[in-house]
Amino acid sequence: MNAERPAWEQLSGARVLSPVQPRKLAKVPFVEMAEGRLQGVVSSGSDIERVYVSSITAGTHGYNCSTNNNRPCGGLRGTPCKHLQSLVEEAVLQYGLERVARYLRAEGDSAATLVRILSGGHESIPAAVVFSRFLRHLAYLELPDTSEPVAELHWFPSLGAVS
């Protein structure tokens, strides 16, 4: 029998997505690259009820940070605030520097340099859209589980570490 691996294009179980890397979620419970932005939610360090919605637009590198009730972040004075820094740091942990830099269309050898080159200035990005995506994300955890066999999941092998 030949031990060569069959062509990826001809595999039903071909792996398309790489697993996200584990990270602590306490500070930044949600980060995603979607809708042309790196965006996410950063928990307030002082008020457990408050979260900040931070986002950076790919290409233009405009950014915004506000509470989920649309109050502007006090740390945003002409430069990215600490929430935006946390957002980029956690995105790099989760997706890897290369993917984040490619998505933002930015160059940098670390999360810190990615933040430093953010030159697009303050841009009006609606917090509500990002926040509702976070709520939708959380809503997955509220769906009831099932003991009906889902045969379709045979197409989705557990995301192992090796290949």
Partner: protein, 454 residues
């Protein structure tokens, strides 16, 4: 599985399989560029696929659908028929492969006695329109907008427990398309895989769930656990022998999740099944009473109808009882090679961690199906001499997906199982990295509790 059985599995090509796969590849190629601009060659591929079913009841409608689609009349009905034609062809490949495997193993299989009900849930309509749009556009034309355009429709499916199967399938496909957009910029496409998921989506949104045909009681002796997972779903599927019937059965539980919950943390999402998880972690048998059994050999797990039994060694079960056990029938619509997951036991082999050698025959390990939620690693496979696994077939090749191995590590004889961490990692290193990552399930549940119900 003996060396002779492994040799028998690979003894000669299966008639018709390569031809069928060629026809399927032609269809998949048409989906890459889209049905709106087929061109002569791809149009011929659709007609050829339909033609292969000429002698079957599906033949005339498949021919008509291919004829209409190639001249630009692309309706839901025609697309469903073509998806059915592709599925039927793969069904034939599945049957040939499974018959060869059963013959090689000397395994007997029950006859199909269930019914496959139809269903047409209106909630699924928007998702079907999306699947049609994908087929018309072709994978190459998929951008962020099209990839995300069914997100709301999929959320609606997820909210309806009856539609969990199509919801989990389509959510998985949509996530891959979103992450791959714009698909036109990709160097190569998972053409087989996406066509599989597309066809499955169209058929599944027209299919009702299977009904249990009997209630069974007895002792369940687990062989091992298979873990399935994508960003927003996890399923564990336990393969076991049901005594005193000597039947191979499976039982599954699945939960929704998010992508940042992965690895050993996925077990926490299944904490409402303590009897089942405890049995996996402590290698116990399970006593079941009046548990519903589907004609597909799947026990519908009810915690209240099960209790923990005595310690049982899955390797003893595999060694002694697997040979004579009867396998369940496969539901007609699930006849696809990717679903072949037949439990086998192999011992006395040599392994380099990638392939095992048994009496001069080789069999590759399916390393793509080694979950991060358990302790099995390629290093353990290399040190192993016995394995309980699932026979898998993909891309023209049989592989062995390990569920448990016996290995000698530092002169110590170990038995390591996929389900060992069902109650949390037992290994220092995994515990350490778990502690470093905090507890994502607890963090997100706290956030959900505080923010969702405002």
């Amino acid at each position: 599985m003996l060396g002779a059985q492994l040799a028998a599995l690979h003894d000669g090509a299966l008639p018709g399989v390569d031809e069928a796969l060629d026809l399927i590849a032609g269809f998949d190629d048409a989906l890459v560029s889209g049905f709106a601009r087929l061109g002569e060659e791809r149009a011929a591929a659709l007609v050829a696929l339909a033609g292969a079913l000429g002698g079957t009841p599906l033949g005339p409608s498949a021919a008509e659908a291919a004829g209409k689609v190639t001249v630009g009349s692309i309706t839901d009905e025609h697309l469903t028929t073509l998806a059915g034609a592709r599925t039927a062809l793969f069904g034939a490949v599945h049957d040939a492969l499974l018959a060869r495997l059963d013959d090689a193993l000397g395994r007997s299989r029950a006859d199909w006695e269930g019914t496959q009900p139809q269903s047409g849930d209106p909630l699924a309509g928007a998702c079907r329109s999306w699947l049609a749009e994908l087929a018309i556009t072709g994978w190459r034309g998929v951008d962020h907008g099209l990839a995300s355009s069914a997100d709301q429709a999929i959320q609606n499916l997820l909210a309806e427990p009856r539609l969990r199967r199509p919801a989990m399938l389509l959510d998985g496909l949509a996530a891959e398309l979103r992450a791959s957009s714009p698909v036109g910029a990709m160097e190569r496409l998972p053409a087989r895989r996406w066509a599989d998921l597309w066809a499955r989506g169209l058929l599944l949104t027209r299919t009702g769930g299977l009904e249990a045909t009997e209630l069974v009681s007895g002792r369940l002796l687990p062989l091992g656990v298979d873990v399935h997972e994508h960003g927003t779903a996890v399923q564990i599927q336990i393969h076991a022998i049901l005594e005193p019937h000597g039947r191979l059965v499976r039982t599954s539980v699945a939960a929704a999740k998010v992508d940042t919950i992965a690895g050993p943390f996925v077990w926490q999402l299944l904490s409402s099944y303590p009897v089942l998880l405890d049995a996996l972690a402590r290698r116990l048998s399970l006593e079941v009473t009046d548990m519903p059994l589907l004609p597909s050999g799947d026990l519908l797990w009810h915690e209240g109808r099960a209790s923990a039994g005595a310690y049982t060694d899955p390797f003893a079960t595999a060694r002694v009882q697997l040979t004579g056990a009867v396998s369940p029938a496969v539901p007609p619509l699930e006849r696809h090679p990717v679903r072949i997951a037949e439990p086998v036991f192999v011992e006395g082999y040599k392994s380099d961690g990638k392939t095992l050698q048994l009496d001069g025959s080789g069999l590759a390990f399916d390393l793509d199906r080694l979950p991060q939620s358990g302790p099995l690693t390629p290093q353990l496979l290399k040190a192993s001499t016995a394995c309980i696994g699932l026979m898998r077939w993909d891309g023209g090749q049989w592989r062995l997906q390990p569920l448990a191995v016996q290995a000698t590590v530092k002169k110590e004889r170990l038995a390591v199982h996929n389900g060992d961490w069902a109650l949390g990692p037992t290994d220092q290193k995994a515990r350490g990295s778990g502690a470093k990552a905090g507890d994502p399930v607890a963090v997100l549940k706290e956030r959900a509790g505080r923010l969702l119900r405002r």
